[in-house]
């Protein structure tokens, strides 16, 4: 890789050094089915509070599926179901009694393709905000600005907040989607290959903002890009055929993997 890799890596993960990280989201014996297809098999792992955790693995290994269980977005599609437990601060979110609205307010999501709504830039960010909170116009503007700043987009759009979001470039649209997700102040943000459709400069901007914001949120990022995982993540989980092979810090996964399959994957022997 290039210089970006170095700068990001140098500024990136060193938070949990002096405190024991708390588990924000815990998966316990999670199974997932698309109809009869068994996509996740007994996955158990924890995502730490205030850290970036990357999920890597070859296509079809269940990375995105895993992510989509955490905010129960899979429930949109009949025939998809998850068994086992996923805890958010100790409470099982797979219980039907767990409010979807609460879950999704606390666990935001950013998708692979930018999905701006056909609304103005301001309204895109304010859309969910208005649903959860009663804010004055001034407070709303402030929250929108904060979110856009967090997503490193403010300087580029501050003069055209009323312009349609569809007029932004792909990279800007994706940062807008991140701002939109951050606006409701979630505790966890799920990112499903958020940069795979973007150019290197936009990718660098998004990586930078994730590193900057890492302390304020729990980020879980699915990526095909091993360098990205190495640059960003405090911990990386390697998934293969719907099973968790190994999870560990950068050193463990990328330099000194415990499992031979992890070693084969990160050294490019398959995948």
């Amino acid at each position: 890789m290039n210089a970006i890799a170095f700068t990001s890596a140098d500024t990136a993960p060193t938070p949990a050094a002096n405190r024991a990280p708390a588990v924000k989201i815990g998966l316990d014996n999670l199974d997932f089915y698309y109809g009869r297809t068994h996509a996740l098999k007994g996955v158990s792992l924890g995502f730490n509070d205030g850290e970036i955790t990357a999920i890597i693995g070859p296509s079809g290994c269940g990375k995105s599926t895993l992510l989509r269980t955490i905010n129960r977005i899979f429930e949109l599609y009949p025939g998809q179901r998850a068994t086992g437990t996923i805890t958010l601060d100790g409470r099982n979110i797979l219980e039907p009694a767990f409010s979807l609205s609460e879950l999704r307010a606390r666990v935001g999501m950013v998708f692979q393709k930018p999905t701006p709504f056909s609304l103005s830039i301001h309204d895109n960010v304010a859309f969910a905000l208005r649903h959860y909170e009663r804010l004055s116009r001034a407070e709303e503007r402030e929250r929108v600005e904060t979110s856009l700043r967090q997503a490193a987009l403010w300087d580029e759009v501050k003069d055209k907040l009323n312009v349609s979001a569809l007029a932004l470039s792909g990279g800007q649209q994706q940062r807008l989607c991140i701002a939109r997700a951050l606006a409701v102040r979630p505790e966890v943000v799920l990112l499903d290959e958020p940069t795979s459709a973007l150019d290197p400069i936009s990718t660098a901007k998004i990586e930078e903002l994730l590193v900057e914001q890492a302390a304020n949120f729990t980020f879980i990022i699915v990526t095909h890009n091993l360098q990205q995982a190495a640059r960003l993540a405090h911990r990386t989980a390697f998934l293969l055929d719907g099973q968790l092979v190994e999870i560990g810090d950068r050193e463990q996964i990328f330099v000194n993997p415990q499992n031979s399959r992890t070693r084969d994957y990160v050294t490019g022997r398959f995948g």
């Binding site: 905010n71 977005i73 949109l76 979807l100 609205s101 609460e102 879950l103 999704r104 307010a105 935001g108 999501m109 998708f111 393709k113 999905t115 709504f117 056909s118 609304l119 859309f127 969910a128 649903h131 959860y132 349609s164 569809l166 989607c177 939109r180 997700a181 409701v184």
Partner: protein
């Protein structure tokens, strides 16, 4: 790669034949349309006069205009749109957003397609039984209802299709914010599909503004001015029908004028739809 010369020549011949056949059938189809338009416009344009828009329909044998019929058509088409559009759009929303691929939704789509091609005279008779026979008299309201029943399946179909064209990722992205589905549908999905929905409504308006059969049995027609929804009302299609059937030349002129006005309106509406599509489609 070398293609055998015989093969190449053969393909070229087949290609020319296919091209000629396709072009010829297109020309054949368009020829009749052009002829109809030409007759309507040449005969209709000659019949145009300001009196058309200022005077009432005359009794057979005298001169007059089409003011009451134009007004009546406008009122009943508007009535059809007001009654039919909400039902059509909401039903389309059910199919695209809630029912999706369920058996019920697919059954409704199938039945809706049958309704879409139901002969309009049947719909006229149906509303005659349903409204006119019950009330004991013809009325503009019955005409509006009949037009609404013709409009509904068109709007259901186009709304359903317009909403299903909205990418699923947008639904997921909006629902992932924890916003309930009704809000996602009304605030986000409608906005993304508005062009298609509006197009469907305008096309449905074009369709019902020329319908004659359902109005013959419901609104009947009226030689005089009437703005009473509960009474028979004049309208362009039945005026054309009556004047074209009359023996007098003055009546034929009025029939041509009516045909011209309605054709021009439908044509204009189609152009507006295309313009709308071009300007409102993002990217």
């Amino acid at each position: 790669m070398i293609i055998a010369p015989g093969l190449l020549a053969r393909r070229k011949t087949v290609n020319v034949i296919a091209l000629i056949a396709a072009t010829a059938t297109t020309v054949f189809g368009l020829f009749w349309l052009a002829w109809i338009l030409w007759t309507t416009f040449s005969q209709g344009a000659a019949a145009l006069s300001p009196r058309l828009f200022t005077e009432m329909t005359p009794p057979p044998g005298s001169e007059g205009g089409l003011l009451n019929a134009l007004f009546g058509s406008f009122v009943m088409v508007a009535l059809g749109v007001v009654i039919g559009t909400p039902i059509g759009v909401l039903a389309g929303t059910y199919l695209a957003e809630y029912g999706r691929a369920s058996k019920l939704a697919n059954t409704i789509r199938f039945v809706n397609d049958i309704l879409l091609s139901a002969p309009s005279i049947l719909i006229g008779l149906f509303v005659y039984e349903l409204v006119v026979a019950q009330q004991g008299h013809y009325s503009a309201l019955a005409g509006g209802i009949a037009l609404a029943i013709i409009l509904i399946p068109v709007v259901v179909r186009t709304s359903d299709e317009a909403l299903r064209l909205v990418p699923n990722q947008m639904r997921e992205a909006a629902l992932a914010l924890g916003v309930p589905q009704w809000k996602v549908t009304t605030r986000i999905i409608y906005r993304a599909g508005v062009t298609g929905i509006m197009t469907g409504i305008l096309l449905a308006v074009a369709r019902i503004s020329g319908e004659t059969a359902p109005l013959l049995f419901t609104a009947l027609g009226n030689q005089y001015w009437s703005a009473d929804l509960n009474a028979p009302m004049a309208n362009i299609p039945t005026a054309i029908y009556n004047y074209a059937n009359a023996p007098q030349d003055e009546a034929h002129v009025l029939a041509w004028a009516g045909a011209f006005v309605i054709t021009a309106f439908v044509l204009l509406l189609n152009i507006v739809v295309r313009f709308f599509l071009r300007t409102r489609t993002p990217r």
